[in-house]
Symmetry: C2
Subunit: 410 residues, 2 copies
């Protein structure tokens, strides 16, 4: 028993004698709307929340480990696994008998709301394997080659307080109270071993990862993600998303690398740009989502088409530079959300944008070269600013009785 689990045990049992489950029975309808009973299975060979069609809301949190005990780390991952499995079916997390004279383990704000398609995806940052030259947990030799801090990109303006992290939680659901609750409960469970480093909430998924979903608009008003990888396309998922046995290390096979970028939209400039100017920046029509030169959203993007001797889709248009054709055929699975925050005092500007999340099999072949190309010449750079960045290794899924990332510890 580690010092931390002793502490947690004391908190849970110390003051109490009675052990009745006084909270926690599900209470449908208490949230005001009908409880949303749709659920996404937690256990499986892949973590949920990657190929899963994105629900409408996100709460993301990154943590710094404050303990240097590998037992504490394993303990946190075990508790997170148990809690995530319970919350995914819409139940409060009550691993121990609860009584009225101790603090509830589950914080209670999602009681009766229902699972609402909640997924909780967990990842490990590069710093878990080494920080400042120190192998904190003796895991250094297990660090995947692909899990390195991202290189600097041109034009970015990163806030270090909103970058990185040893561990991360991505909670997605159709009710923001459910995603908030998931991060709230897991943050509390990590107490004594890991502390919240940064967090971000999001709404209005800005991508489709399934053919069952139509294309949403981002906060610039454009349809976003028309030509993304779809989860139904197993071949593309294996080629571009899931880590394969040949990639290694063994503990990551069946997992994926998560990259996130907080992309602030500079609305003062964007909103003053003519409709045609906006469409030239993106390379698509605003209303229909059709590529320039096309008629309908799903029309083929013709990068060669010319009119009056000029390219129909400009050289610096976003869809040209992000196109697989311009990136050695590489693709990524995007799964981002819009965000909106209180305006910065004195700025007079709306503070909002895209909390970009992508999953890929190999950042070095996929995200990094694509982003380098975009950072170099994308016309969209005049209208956006990258303000946060992180990379995490999301291990494969968990079978009942296991815990997330367990193969890392064997």
């Amino acid at each position: 028993m580690t010092r931390r689990s002793a502490l947690l045990g004391a908190a849970a049992f110390g003051a109490g004698v009675a052990a009745n489950r006084v909270v926690g029975k599900r209470e449908p309808g208490s949230s005001g709307a009908s409880p949303d009973a749709r659920l996404v299975p937690f256990h499986g060979s892949r973590q949920a929340g990657i190929a899963t069609p994105p629900p409408e809301f996100l709460s993301f949190a990154a943590f710094d480990l404050t303990s240097s005990s590998i037992d504490d780390l394993r303990d946190v991952l075990g508790e997170w696994t148990a809690a995530a499995a319970t919350l995914a079916v819409g139940q409060p997390y009550e691993p121990r008998a609860e009584s009225a004279d101790v603090a509830p383990t589950d914080t209670g704000e999602a009681m009766g709301v229902g699972p609402s398609r909640l997924t909780i995806t967990i990842g490990f940052g590069p710093s878990l394997f080494g920080l400042g030259g120190k192998d904190r947990f003796g895991l250094g030799r297990k660090q995947p080659r692909s899990l390195s801090p991202l290189p600097p990109f041109r034009g970015e303006s990163l806030d270090p307080d909103r970058c990185g992290g040893d561990l991360c939680i991505q909670a997605c659901a159709d009710d923001p109270q459910v995603t908030f609750h998931a991060v709230h409960v897991l943050t509390r469970l990590a107490s004594g071993a890991a502390t919240l480093r940064w967090s971000q909430s999001g709404f209005g998924r800005t991508s489709s990862t399934s053919r069952s979903q139509s294309t949403p608009r981002n906060l610039m008003g454009f349809k976003d993600g028309t030509h993304h990888i779809r989860a139904e396309d197993g071949e593309a998922m294996d080629e571009f998303v899931w880590v394969q046995p040949s990639d290694g290390p063994a503990w990551m096979v069946g997992g994926s690398y998560l990259i996130l970028r907080r992309i602030q939209m500079l609305f003062d400039v964007w909103d003053s740009t003519s409709l045609e100017g906006q469409e030239q920046v993106i390379g698509r029509r605003k209303q229909s989502g059709a590529p320039l030169g096309g008629q309908e959203e799903y029309d083929t993007v013709d990068l060669e088409a010319q009119r009056d001797g000029e390219l129909v889709i400009p050289l610096d248009a976003h869809i040209r530079l992000a196109s697989p054709k311009q990136n050695a055929g590489q693709r990524i699975l995007r799964r981002g959300y819009s965000y909106s925050e209180p305006t910065e005092p004195g700025s007079g500007q709306i503070d909002a944008g895209l909390f970009f999340i992508s999953f890929q099999r190999d950042p070095e072949r996929q995200f990094i070269p694509i982003q380098r190309r975009l950072a170099g010449s994308d016309a969209l750079n005049h209208h956006t600013l990258n303000t946060a960045s992180a990379i995490f290794a999301c291990p494969p899924g968990i079978r009942p009785g296991g815990f997330i990332g367990e193969r890392l510890f064997t």
Copy 2:
């Protein structure tokens, strides 16, 4: 024509020749889900968004006027009125013929999403009637007695950058993209006359203003607002919410005073409090919402009940101190939302709480004495911190052809 409308006119027409409506036809289904066609009428004798049963999301924004021309003020209110009426039916706001070579008036991100029960409620801050002893717009003599900056309350820790404002917009809808869009478009329309001072988004309404809604939970996990005023109770609405002819001034009759308080929840302390301790703080059971001593949520709150010689509902319990019985029979219409923001770097704490909004006929008789009592002795004060505050006068509703607050200008 004012300098500002000349400028706006130039922006809208200046570069353009063609005048086709290239954007703006509604395009159902483009947002990924079915468009939400439910709508709340904008015009009427009351502003929508007060008695209206609260939808799930909020975007709130406060503005500082940068122009000192009353014509600019009237012009902004006229544009806001026209835009709000259009957005309320789910249409993009395109007051002028649009063309591809000018910036679209409507920013476009809500295209195809549907009205989603959008309401836009507009209010005037005390500073509109005088700031630093200066009557900026010649409106000083029309300032309602009830529209004064709130007095300081014990224990509050207000951030002046998130308080006050000359004008405010409360946008509520069942889709956060719709509320974001409403504030985005109206902020842009105010450009040159008013600038964004602060903003706040919210989710998960924390009250019911209609018997058709059941009671939601706040982020502390408790059902909130069991005994609030319901819009169906016309007598209570007249007594406690709507400004009456006897109150004056004439331009506010049929309106209401909006008060907001940003109430941060101190989860580190709260989450470590025993279930019984939490229930004593609130005065209700966490799971059922029943008042202490009762069985069911709607059971009568018995403030006199004793057990073993002690009050069942403690002297400092929140529901006792907020009870009309303890406040000369006064009540307020609460219509707040939960909020969640990125964690403050280095704090390790979740930054979330309640964005409290209430409407009342007379703050001096209602909110102020209630809040004074709560600030003095509410047990909840150990678990919360008031970090922002504002008051606005929301004038009555608008008939087609009129504009919000027009009676102020006659």
